[in-house]
Symmetry: C2
Subunit: 638 residues, 2 copies
């Protein structure tokens, strides 16, 4: 289907917007009236500018408060709309979005509304224009597409069609299931917007919190499947009012918009195929990896940082498992968790270290089909990357994530040397290294600049096919942190995204320290957390201290067995329990390099979360630790 976006969705002047929209891959655009109003030039100039870029102007919008008015007002409304027809002729577009009347004095009379929409259709017909009539969720009388369609169907004029907007339907919890029954040629335009579920006035919600498909909580594939089944073949057009997008650079926003449409199309295709319906001309990406898991995490280091991290890994009983054949790169393993320390100056990691210091510069994912995974990610517009490869070393395909870090796709063929065997001189044959209580990587948690949070959601959903939980707000003593978890269906991959709402939280400091890319922490799985923390503490790993008051409250909330509670307290373990009795026990290390830290987790009984109720306790303890460290740094030691 044709992919379009409304100019109101991104920031900048009209010229900047159109250029960014074209560069992102759209072939069509809706002109939002205010953008024209503020433009220094005529509508014909806008037409030329769009035409030079190869963009079709498929809609002009919005026209407000037309139908259901007193008869003497109708004449004025017709006059008003005819002026807009003149503008449209200059713009070179033949579709006008007309929203249902929101005025308090709108007359509640479907017969009158239909009669006046009929007059509108006739004027439109004379001007060679098609009206797309849309029910606003906060319209005075017409609020649902079903109601709008009854009026359009009553008028039954070729120049009056129905406009759909997913926000107006899904924000009211109205079902989209009636859309398929509307003849597709009677639907003049389809707008798509997602949004997080919020308990607020629907007009405010719509004006400030819309987002791209996949970034919010709406079931948009079901909505779009209904649209396809109706036979509609016009554009799918994003119309996003989002305060964040208004303040973000337009090119990146437009690129996310385009890939969000591709993602929506691909999910709609799956929905339709599951319903054994025709999928139409929807985007068809390569399949997402079915069973991805981390192959390794790669840190950019220099000699000093390597010694520092290696020291920590050794205390956590990681084994130095190999040395890269051609680069200054070391491999550490513990269970299935593998950490690569890359100190090669003349490399991607070296450049990353230059900019970000000690940081997570690459993640490698073991998948069933690396070529297919790369094709999928590249299809969604992520940049493929090929690094320098030594003789006999494996060529590993990768794409760059939103922060510029690399994401490798690795598949191991039976009977062939593994990636580690090919690239590293191993101290032992490749395989899980059972040297201690860690079994593997549970999840990776990233601290992000607030403006890139939703870009990461799209990246992980589109390139990896992950699913997202709703966002939560976590209280740090110095401000709020927005957090959202994404995971694969089989839970082989779990990623937690954090973005600080405020400037003074630990997450915000991490983002600044890393210049925009930031690991928050890596969580390792264990089957026996009491053994793990006992062994690690004995080896000198400093664990984050948990206040005694936490355990008193834990007891009041969960009424735990006293011996178990004592054990938790003695080991500085945090505890959570889900509704089905699943349990989560976890401990944190103090921060490493004053930026990131490590977590040891044990999941019991199918617990699927991340201990969010404990986040405030952890953040307060970390703040205390940072304050102490700052105080020590200020006061000369005796």
């Amino acid at each position: 289907m044709r992919r379009s976006i409304a100019t109101v969705s991104i920031s900048g002047t009209l010229a900047e917007k159109l250029a960014a929209i074209r560069a992102a891959g759209f072939d069509a655009v809706e002109i939002f009236e205010n953008d024209l109003l503020y433009f220094e030039g005529s509508p014909a100039d806008v037409r030329r500018m769009a035409g030079d870029l190869g963009l079709d102007i498929v809609l002009y919008q919005p026209f407000r408060d037309f139908e259901g008015v007193a008869p003497e007002r109708l004449a004025r409304n017709i006059e008003r709309v005819k002026r807009k027809f003149d503008v449209m002729r200059q713009l070179g577009t033949d579709r006008l979005l007309v929203c249902s009347n929101v005025s308090p004095d709108t007359i509640c009379d479907d017969g009158l509304a239909a009669e006046q929409l009929g007059a509108l259709a006739q004027a439109a017909g004379e001007a060679g224009v098609t009206i797309c009539y849309e029910a606003l969720a906060w319209g005075r009388h017409v609020r649902t597409y079903g109601h709008a369609w009854r009026l359009v169907n009553t008028v039954n004029h070729a120049n009056l069609t129905l406009a759909l907007d997913s926000f107006h339907t899904l924000s009211l919890d109205d079902t989209p299931d009636g859309i398929a029954a509307i003849p597709g040629e009677r639907i003049g335009f389809v707008q798509i917007a997602d949004a997080p579920r919020m308990q607020m006035d629907v007009l405010e919600w719509s004006r400030h919190y819309r987002c791209f498909p996949g970034q919010g909580d709406f079931a948009l594939a079901d909505f779009t499947a209904q649209v396809v089944k109706s036979g509609y073949t016009g554009p799918l057009s994003l119309e996003i009012f989002n305060d964040g997008f208004r303040g973000a650079p337009p090119a990146a926003t437009a690129a996310d918009g385009h890939r969000s449409l591709l993602l929506l199309e691909s999910l709609t295709r799956e929905t339709l195929q599951a319903e054994q319906a025709q999928a139409g001309a929807l985007y068809h990406p390569s399949a997402a990896p079915a069973h991805a898991q981390w192959q390794f995490l790669e840190f950019a280091v220099d000699d000093t940082a390597r010694a520092h991290v290696a020291n920590w890994l050794e205390k956590l009983h990681f084994r130095r498992a190999g040395q890269h054949r051609s680069k200054d790169v070391t491999l550490y393993q513990h269970g299935s968790a593998a950490i690569v320390l890359n100190a090669e100056p003349d490399s991607f990691a070296g450049a990353f270290f230059q900019r970000h210091g000690l940081s997570l510069c690459a993640s490698a994912f073991r998948v069933d089909n690396a070529r297919e995974a790369l094709e999928r990610a590249a299809g969604f517009g992520y940049q493929p990357f090929l690094g320098r490869v030594g003789p006999n070393e494996r060529v590993v395909p990768a794409v760059q994530g939103p922060d510029g870090s690399l994401n490798y796709f690795v598949n191991e063929e039976p009977g062939q040397p593994t990636l580690f065997e090919a690239d590293f001189a191993l101290t032992d044959i490749d395989g899980p290294v059972e040297v201690g209580p860690i079994s593997g990587i549970d999840h990776v948690s990233l601290s992000l600049p607030a403006g890139s949070f939703d870009s990461w959601v799209l990246f992980l959903k589109s390139a990896f096919g992950l699913e997202a939980t709703p966002a939560v707000l976590l209280p740090d003593p110095y401000g709020l942190v927005r957090s959202r978890a994404l995971m694969s269906r089989d839970r082989g991959l779990r990623v937690v995204l954090n973005a600080s709402v405020d400037q003074h939280t630990a997450a915000a400091e991490t983002v600044r320290a890393y210049h925009g890319t930031g690991l928050n922490h890596v969580a390792f799985n264990t089957g026996d957390i009491f053994r793990a923390v006992t062994e690690f503490e004995a080896a000198g790993v400093p664990l984050l201290r948990v206040p005694a008051n936490y355990y008193d409250d834990l007891d009041a909330r969960h009424a735990l067995d006293p011996a178990f509670l004592d054990a938790l307290r003695d080991h500085n373990l945090l505890y959570d329990r889900d509704e089905r009795g699943g349990e989560f026990l976890h401990a944190y290390t103090e921060t490493l390099d004053q930026r990131f830290f490590l977590e040891i987790v044990e999941r019991r009984g199918g617990y699927d979360g991340y201990g969010a109720p404990n986040a405030a306790v952890r953040l307060a303890a970390q703040a205390r630790q940072r304050a102490l460290a700052a105080k020590e740094a200020r006061e000369p030691q005796d």
Copy 2:
């Protein structure tokens, strides 16, 4: 009355919070349970810490979901609350806030609720504790103070009292008028919070958007007057859940909290006096200036900046009216508008220039009683300032505003030399200088860091007694700008505050350029704007160009006389009309020094606004101008 604040209202560790609260002048504090939970130390340690600071812990909170439960649950709830009594004993406080039950399975039976609250009161009596029972606005059954009071009154036990919270009452549009009839000794605690009017779920509104009294839209003086009339003599305590405060430095937030209580007390006192009721022990500040207006605006400059600004002023037909007797300071006048350019290096202005560059470093206000005005501002905690004064020059009292700039209070005595005559060698006798179409200063508009917006609202309300309009959001092409106007009752002073929600707007750039202090623009009044812009353009003042599309839309909206519309278009004038036919005609200059700009306004027929509907057009035109300037700076000139 005693002034208290809940620890949840400000950011930081518990130790940081208590220190900031004490430094701000509070003598009492509520301990919010989570702050204790995250504290590394016992409740007795908290008691010692507060005691050492001289802070009383007047309340522990909250205890949730007690009443209206099945009988078997009651025993467990009594056990739960007894543990909290133990904590309170250690904390050294005897008041516990108990919120009305929000649980979906709460039993709707006032008899049962009263019976269980009776059991709670008895347990509290045995422990020497007083329960303060509060109706949450989103309680399952008990949502109003009236309902909560009926239960408390039914139980009729000395250890069960009513807690009031202005948010819970005013958010529901419940009237506070019944409070005065409740016996004051039966009210155990009073919490105060303001909030902007918002159309959203009341729980979300309460948790994220509360603010200090005077910063929001609630009629808090009426609420507090009712409390005083009841005979309540306990603390007034701020309980503010605000996302911004969570991320802001605690000392400044606490200081604003304290002065907001002083302001509320003084407004409550006025309300009570108007009702001829006893004002109790409420704060009584010196009177606000009755007829303040700008005496002058003072810019910090160096030689280059002075030449630049002087050039602009001369094009606007300002007259160079005098030279300071002892400092490198020049006075310009046009009508009653006076601009002072201060290039004295060894002075406050010199230091201000060092840090902020060309900037507004001081504002002088002509008032009837300067000493009283200073006392008032100092009483609200603003820092008095005395600059260097030469022989025979006037000593002018001043306070520092939230950005550190000076605010002088000037009164002129009949028969005495004026300030300008005393301090300046004038080219003419002092008085309005009728050299052109400008009559005076209409308003001053400031660009602020987002975090100081509400501090400025409090400053202008408390020190100057100004009134505020509700905040509006203005769309800049690169993000949203929050804007709010404050004005004196006689409209002699009008100040517009702007804070950018996003990083890339012109307002945000101004804040960065000025390092936290920033004039956005000065608006000058004229009685004939067509004459004014004609003369100024002829003198070489570059006016901001307004796109032709704006006038087409203006015509569609207001159906203006064609000749008038042409005149507006020809002069690049913006136009607004209010509901009573008042009109606003205004024009902007291009930006001066790439940061601030000037506006010429004509008010007709009592128009009282600032042309907010035109802000988007102005912001877009300025963005275009900045983009052009940036392009020219990049491209070498031929």
